[in-house]
Amino acid sequence: MSANTLFDKVWDQHTVRELPTGQTQLFIGTHLIHEVTSPQAFAMLRELGLAVRFPERTFATVDHIIPTDSQIRPFADELAEAMMSELERNCRDYGITFFDSASGHQGVVHVIGPELGLTQPGMTIACGDSHTSTHGAFGAIAFGVGTSQVRDVLATQTLAMARLAVRRIEVSGKLGSGVHAKDVTLAIIRKLGVNGGVGFAYEYGGDVFDSLTLEERMTVCNMAIEGGARCGYVNPDEATFEYLRGRLHAPEGDAFERAVQGWRSVASGADASYDDRVEFDGAEIAPSVTWGINPGQNAGIGECIPRASELPDSERPQLEEALEYMGLRQGDPIAGTPIDVAFIGSCTNGRLSDLRAAARVARTGQVQPGVRALVVPGSQEVARQAEAEGLDETFRAAGFEWREPGCSMCLAMNPDKLIGREICASSSNRNFKGRQGSPTGRTLLMSPAMVAAAAIRGEVADVREVL
């Protein structure tokens, strides 16, 4: 069993009590809610006649259903408007802070939490969204929960959880040029599998993580769940503290200095022990692209789609299912695959540094005729900063659409969707069948810089050759 890791320390500090089932009743420091998975939870709360136990520790925003062309109310989609109204009512009735568009802080829930300083080291964070693992980038233990558990956190600010094992994932060395955090997370999932992390918390570390920015660490932690790990984290360090300094909900002055002392102390000790360890060489990671229907089905840009003959018997049916759906052929190079749509955004890659990386590529050319290209900032704050730097103009000049913040085409619960069998180069996190809104639509996951390169070439391309 792991000992003296950040996970163990945070878990122990937040333990209210051990339950007779062997599970832990765990206090949740920050509860983030959004319009899709909370309405039923509030309905259950009303039915039980319960209050929200810690309304000051609960924060709401709207992201999944919000349109990205015009966010003027009422939304054209009546169902979306109804969900928005329900969240407004619930926040009002229970005294919960709602970061709506008028607040200037609206955005994808996993973008705004860190941006507002709500996400802090040593905290436990829950949200009714699987990509809550994102917040682990700060050394928080953060996990996605279902709606019944959203109700539990609203009612008690706690969850009943079984303790996880801890796997240390060490990425040593240095990443090559044109290789981004997205490629690191895709490489990890490719090696460990889409269910390899079940039962584990992932602790990411090593030279590569030491030098990644907080935004890059978020990209990796965001996709911990795509590898089956409910949470992933990076130990907090100076970069973490500097990111938080001056944020709206971060402590100020002396309190900040005291907080830093505490945050330092939750990092895994030098003597920490782990349930498992896996090592990667950062230099071996290439810009990566998915070719299949789960995020583990990916290849380096210079590689070919696997052949059934190269795989164990047990993996062949999945390869065949994936390639039939994708309309791709085994043995073909992934580079050169034509695309119809390019999407830059999401909780994985919708932050300022992502947009900067994509803009750098966008400056080298024009979106290919026939390709629909969207850039969707992760939050109003990201949009403001990007606009202040002129990134919106860069994208528009290159033929990209510059949109309002939201989840957009990552999951298509809003008007941004693929049509028919369109194939999309996407900076999002899931290439599941139908994920981007069309039951036959196809997704190729890659870094935002690679998406921009694909938009300009009209096909999957090596960003290192474009720059």
Partner: protein
């Protein structure tokens, strides 16, 4: 709040082959534009079923009325949406037997009182074959004995000890248990520097 104890689920079963079946397939996101769970059962596997044009397992007449769904590896991966187990439950499934389940999915199932049990590879293959051969047979998912019984025999089933206890005691809906902690919750909060303001 939970009162019902779940010792076993007995009924006919349906086999849904395939690994890594994600929650977007179980309930496509566009059907989550709702503020209740009332309608999600109507859209269970909607896109997969349309694409299969009547050949999808759930559209086979011999699986009509099945209470147990037999699945492969990593079933329910992806999104945390409770809409997925809600849709399966409202369609009529009360238990799941598989090679493995995604963690958030199985947690959501527990919160609804739906057991997810895991079989060894050979036992699962034998169960799938047996059910496909004779779909009208009764299958027993026994949470208490940790077995799955079918014409393929009695297979040893695994379920996390805590989950098993929750189902057997009727405490699978955790709210009441969590509320029982009373002031201990506030006491824990008061020990956290970020709660008290550093």
């Amino acid at each position: 709040m939970a009162e019902r104890t779940i010792e076993q689920v007995v009924g006919s079963a349906a086999v849904l082959r395939g690994d890594d079946i994600d929650t977007d397939r179980i309930i496509p996101a566009r059907f989550m534009k709702v503020v209740t769970f009332d309608t999600v059962g109507e859209h269970l596997f909607e896109d997969d079923r349309k694409a299969a044009k009547g050949d999808h397992a759930l559209d086979q007449e011999h699986y009509h009325g099945a209470r147990i769904l037999v699945v492969g590896r990593n079933f329910g991966c992806g999104s945390s949406r409770e809409h997925a187990p809600q849709a399966l439950m409202r369609f009529g499934f009360d238990a799941f037997v598989g090679d493995s389940f995604a963690e958030i999915f199985s947690g959501n199932c527990t919160a609804l009182g739906l057991p997810c049990v895991v079989l060894d590879e050979d036992d699962l293959a034998a169960l799938m074959d047996a059910v496909e051969l004779a779909p009208d047979q009764s299958v027993r998912v026994d949470v208490e004995a940790e077995t799955v019984t079918s014409r393929a025999g009695v297979a040893r089933a695994r379920i996390p000890a805590g989950t098993r206890q929750q189902l057997l005691e009727g405490t699978w809906d955790a709210t009441a248990v969590l509320l029982d902690a009373g002031d201990e919750i506030e006491a824990t909060a008061e020990r956290l520097a970020y709660v008290t303001g550093f």
